[in-house]
């Protein structure tokens, strides 16, 4: 069994590092670009050692200008390269938003399919690390709403490794949201296992009473909530969505048809968040199965608070379980 030999326990950040390394090795057209991705290896060390091994021509420290980074990545993609761009923190993607929304997302359609834009934009996102302003945002809905983009977020090291491989192989632009507070969480990564398709959800824990749907950093929270609920005799199913655009509604639907109840959990503000889309669509698909309205747990409609308040702001075990109880009370 060769699979055995290629499995190793890695922190999520290191899994991405290994995945980038493999992509750089396999395809000379793959480039890494961003602020401090070179010698420093990125502020989270996700690109650690890559410039040393692949050179400054392939692992590129860029000027401090996000629109410039994405705009030139588009040009490089038009020339046949496959740039993997790092945005240093979630809150700093907005200067690049115009290039992403009006150019990157639309250019394939604009050209009637004649050009491809295989650009991956890596964004370490979400809170929980005690950071200052702009370092804890969860802007995924602002990208998932935009046609032409795909958005994914791994919740564990193995998915991080494989989803990055698949994102880089994709001929579409992919916004790759990395759950920064899980960077140090270790998980088994089998670099020879053949993964399923990029945009499919995964039942992370089976259950019968209620479905929790989440992605990225909140999957762990939901799994903890499910474990806690079990002690109270409640059986929760946890679906790891993995992809926010497209969303694998079939897997969620199947789960909800079984459990009859759904709670969606994300760090982003609830208002206009991904939970709204999931609630709306699952309610339509499962109207006669739902025994309670789809409930949502997420951030409040207020700017992300200073670090000393983030514990209260972020959905944690208690808030998830509170919503579970509310849903079960219907």
């Amino acid at each position: 069994m060769t699979a055995q030999t290629s499995a190793q326990k890695l922190p999520l950040a290191k899994a991405i590092n290994e995945s980038l390394r493999r992509a750089l090795e396999n395809d000379p057209k793959v480039l890494i670009m961003g602020e401090d991705v070179g010698k420093l290896g990125g502020v989270f060390r996700v690109t650690d050692g890559l410039q040393k091994d692949f050179g400054e021509d392939r692992v590129i420290d860029t000027p401090l200008a996000e629109s410039g980074i994405v705009g030139t990545a588009i040009g490089l993609a038009l020339r046949g390269y496959r740039p993997v761009v790092e945005i240093q923190f979630d809150g700093f993607v907005f200067p690049a938003y115009d290039q992403i929304v009006t150019q990157l997302a639309k250019m394939h359609a604009r050209a009637l399919g004649k050009v491809k834009l295989p650009v991956v934009i890596r964004i370490p996102y979400g809170g929980g690390i005690g950071a200052v302003e702009h370092h804890s945002e969860s802007p995924e809905a602002l990208f998932a709403h935009v046609a032409g983009l795909k958005c994914v977020s791994p919740s564990n090291a193995s998915d991080a490794y494989w989803m990055m491989q698949q994102a880089i192989e994709s001929d579409d632009p992919v916004i790759f949201f990395e759950p920064k507070r899980r960077y140090w969480d270790k998980g088994e990564v089998d670099t020879s296992a053949i993964p399923g398709p990029l945009h499919t959800a995964r039942v992370a824990r089976a259950g019968t009473d209620l479905t929790l749907a989440a992605y990225g950093p909140m999957v762990k929270t939901c799994l903890e909530a499910a474990a806690a609920a079990e002690e109270e005799g409640k059986s929760l199913e946890v679906v790891d969505l993995r992809s926010m655009s497209p969303i694998d509604f079939d897997t969620v639907q199947k789960s909800v048809e079984k459990t009859g109840r759904l709670v969606v959990v994300h760090e982003a503000p609830v208002f206009y968040g991904s939970g709204a889309e999931i609630a709306a669509r699952i309610t339509e698909r499962c109207f006669y199965h739902l025994e309670a309205p789809v409930l949502r747990v997420g951030g409040f409609h207020a700017p992300y608070p200073p670090a000393r308040l983030e514990e209260e702001y972020l959905p944690g075990l208690d808030r998830v379980l509170d919503s579970v109880d509310r849903a079960l009370a219907y």
Binding site: D57, T62, P63, A65, S67, G68, V70, G71, T72, A73, I74, G75, L76, A77, L78, R79, G80, Y81, D98, Q99, T102, Q103, K106, M107, H108, A109, R110, A111, L112, G113, K114, V115, K116, L117, A147, G148, K150, S170, D171, D172, H199, S245, P246, I247, D248
Partner: protein, 413 residues
């Protein structure tokens, strides 16, 4: 140097030629640094005065009166054939442009952005390009498209509303028209970074307007291209207006000077002088090709018409200004020169007149028979690898449309 000579090309033009720094011709590869102008200590009032009296020296090789003049840094030596070719390009471009304007008036196009007055800037720069060079245009580069051999009627698709860009960018190394002001300057820079990585000696050219010079993206393109020494030429057509705003609303000094602050040369050329535009762009491209990095060319010209067919310039500028610029017409001055020098005869002009009319007719014919897109094209090419939701919506919409077909069918029964 005619459109026929390039139009038929179908293969991708990516050159595999390696950059050969030594090869660069000594003369043309040595563009001068922009004239140094001490930063002006402008008092509030004078900050508004610019673009007028104290214009810096333009590079000019052909005066408005049709006289050939020499320039210490930029020279050109063209055959009669080449000169007639440039003339023909400008005339046909203008004819095509006029045809498009009238097609808009007749409702065949939703909008048209005329290049009237900017033929020399576009043909001069466009004819400086090599096949393997790559062009990133705005929405007004019809003359450059012509030089690249893009079928003119293809340009009309987006203005008619049948597509957002109707040509394959890689067939003619001519990217799609870009509407979001300034963003293509970064695409050009990235593409040029790729050219350099490939070790090719191609160059890239990014077109933009005077208004665009204010966009952060253009500044970032200057920064990236300078830092990476990317082989890109920034070609700014300063036609003195950004819709209703004169250039003073974008800069209080001539735009070519911007380059200096980023560490690369900038030069201002008479944008109505096709010879100067050709010579300066050639030099700038050679500069890029030879590994010296970016260069900014500001072609000082004038938008003779409205911004687009939706615009009404009488609201913001006087006829006098236009009249003054008519005397500097780019086509007229080359015709005068050709005639005075006996480089073209009546026959040439008559034949060109006929060719012009034919081009107009062909374009008119093509546009009138241009099919509307299929409804389901809404869902095509949203993604290269597909997207589950798009598939779902496509299927649902097809079903929905079928209900009409059915009822029509039933009613017909």
């Amino acid at each position: 140097m005619t459109v026929e000579s390039t139009a038929a090309r179908d293969e991708a033009r990516r050159s595999s030629g390696k950059r050969t720094t030594a090869k660069t011709p000594a003369k043309s590869a040595k563009p001068t640094a922009a004239k140094k102008t001490a930063a002006r200590k402008t008092a509030r009032a004078s900050a508004k005065a610019s673009g007028g009296a104290d214009q810096p020296q333009l590079v000019q090789l052909l005066t408005p009166e049709g006289e050939r003049v020499e320039h210490p840094e930029y020279s050109i030596d063209l055959t009669a054939d080449e000169l007639r070719g440039l003339y023909r390009d400008m005339v046909l471009t203008r004819r095509f442009d006029a045809e498009a304007t009238s097609l808009q008036r007749q409702g065949e196009l939703g909008l048209w952005a005329s290049l009237l007055g900017q033929e020399a800037a576009q043909i001069g720069s466009g004819r400086a390009l090599r096949d393997d060079d790559y062009v990133f245009p705005t929405y007004r580069e019809h003359g450059v498209a012509w030089c690249r051999g893009v079928d003119p009627s293809n340009l009309l698709g987006m203005f008619r509303g049948v597509n957002n860009g109707g040509w394959d960018p890689n067939t003619n190394n001519f990217h799609l028209y870009t509407i979001v002001i300034g963003s293509q300057a970064l695409h050009a820079t990235g593409y040029a970074m790729g050219v350099a990585k490939d070790g090719a000696d191609s160059a890239v050219i990014a077109y933009f307007g005077d208004g665009a010079s204010s966009q952060g993206d253009v500044a970032e393109a200057f920064t990236f291209s300078a830092v990476y020494n990317a082989p890109v030429v920034f070609f700014c057509q300063n036609n003195q207006w950004a819709i209703s705003e004169p250039t003073e609303k974008q800069s209080r000094v001539p735009i070519y000077q911007r380059a200096q602050g980023y560490g690369f040369p900038g030069v201002r050329v008479d944008g109505n002088d096709v010879l100067a535009c050709l010579a300066v762009t050639r030099a700038a491209l050679a500069h890029a090709r030879s590994g010296q990095g970016p260069m900014l060319v500001e072609a000082f010209t004038y938008r003779m018409g409205a911004h687009t067919t939706s615009d009404d310039p009488t609201r913001y500028r006087t006829d006098d200004e236009r009249a003054a610029w008519e005397a500097k017409d780019p086509i007229l001055r080359l015709r005068t020169y050709l005639e005075k020098q006996g480089l073209a005869d009546e026959e040439f002009f008559a034949a060109l007149e006929t060719e012009s009319e034919e081009l107009g007719l062909t374009v008119r014919e093509k546009i009138r028979t241009m099919p509307d897109p299929d409804t389901m094209a809404i869902f095509e090419n949203a993604y290269a690898d597909g997207h589950a939701l798009v598939d779902e919506e496509r299927a649902q919409f097809a079903e929905y449309l079928a209900t009409f077909a059915d009822s029509a069918h039933q009613e017909g029964n």
